[in-house]
């Protein structure tokens, strides 16, 4: 476990090796947030680099009022969303999110279904970015509701509602999968 305050102080004083340690520590977190939102492997690495450059630029403004991981996740979230807006890749509006349903199965989906993990990941990738984000932040990165609110600036109630609905939609698909698996 490394001392974050000491590390941040070193980085602010211009120590790039200390910053490399920070990048290695948080690259997985940033990758998962960015990759889930952007949903495009080719651009994910560029956006992750952009996130860390921004972290380096603005680290002197970090006041330890939240966890460093929350602050970095916020930068990753905003950078990824801005990327989607810039290239007009935002797939759904707020009103469409509530009415989201999975599309019919195609042959490629049926092939992916053979492995449970791949199937769940494929389903998540079909979901609107808000669902993907809250699922990743809560289950994979293990942030609390309050931290997700801080990262995404969505009200806690909205976070809970998106999480509930996203899980329910996934569960419905997975139930069918599990029943077929048992047959």
């Amino acid at each position: 476990m490394f001392d974050e305050k000491e590390l941040v102080a070193k980085i602010i004083n211009g120590d790039l090796r200390a910053f490399e340690v920070l990048v290695k520590q948080y690259e997985r977190l940033v990758y998962h947030v960015v990759n889930r939102i952007i949903n495009n492997q080719e651009d994910t690495e560029d956006v992750c680099q952009e996130v860390f450059i921004l972290v380096h630029k603005t680290l002197s403004k970090f006041r330890f009022e939240s966890k460093l991981s929350t602050w970095i996740a916020r930068i990753a979230y905003v950078t990824a969303i801005n990327y989607l807006r810039k290239y007009r890749k935002i797939s759904t509006t707020d009103s469409q999110i509530d009415q989201f349903h999975f599309t019919e199965e195609n042959p490629q989906n049926l092939l992916t279904k053979k492995e449970e993990s791949n199937y769940v990941n494929m389903l998540i990738n079909q979901m609107p970015e808000h669902y993907r984000t809250v699922l990743t932040l809560y289950h994979l990165n293990e942030f609390s509701y309050q931290e997700i609110e801080e990262i995404t600036k969505m009200p806690e109630g909205t976070v809970k509602s998106y999480l509930f609905r996203a899980r329910k939609l996934l569960k419905e698909k997975l139930s069918v999968y599990l029943k077929k698996e048992l047959l």
């Binding site: 990048v23 997985r28 690495e45 992750c48 860390f52 769940v120 509930f164 569960k171």
Partner: protein, 136 residues
């Protein structure tokens, strides 16, 4: 929110992992599905960042810092040259120099200006693009 689903989601997160004996089969199946789903959601997908990702970030930051200091230096030099030229233009030597230059003196000035523009465009359009490619 559907209350039953909400409760089952909570149970799948915090336990207990079994519903009371008389609970409908549908709810028990839902609990199993949710538990399986939550296990899947916790699994970390493969991270596909290139080897040496952190080193690439550091290289990019170093490059940006270098560009910033070069830019500051260029601005400082440009400021000094402008001040020097302004001082020279206001001195008694300026007119003497201009009259001493051969007939087509404006061609010399235009040539100098053209050189500066070519150098600027070379920097902007060719060198920066090459450097960006090298970074990737």
């Amino acid at each position: 929110m559907n209350e039953s689903d909400d409760e089952i989601q909570k149970m799948a997160t915090n336990g207990p992992n079994e519903l009371p004996g008389g609970a409908p089969i549908g709810e028990q199946e839902d609990l199993i599905s949710y538990s399986r789903l939550f296990d899947e959601l916790k699994k970390e997908p493969e991270v596909k960042l290139t080897y040496g990702f952190s080193a690439n970030v550091i290289r990019k930051i170093k490059y940006q810092k270098q560009r910033q200091s070069e830019m500051k230096l260029a601005l400082l030099v440009a400021g000094l040259i402008s001040m020097g030229f302004w001082g020279f233009a206001n001195s008694i030597y300026f007119e003497k120099t201009i009259t001493a230059l051969p007939g087509n003196k404006w061609i010399i000035f235009a040539g100098l200006l053209l050189l500066v523009i070519i150098e600027f465009l070379d920097q902007k359009l060719v060198k920066e693009r090459r450097l960006r490619k090298q970074e990737r």
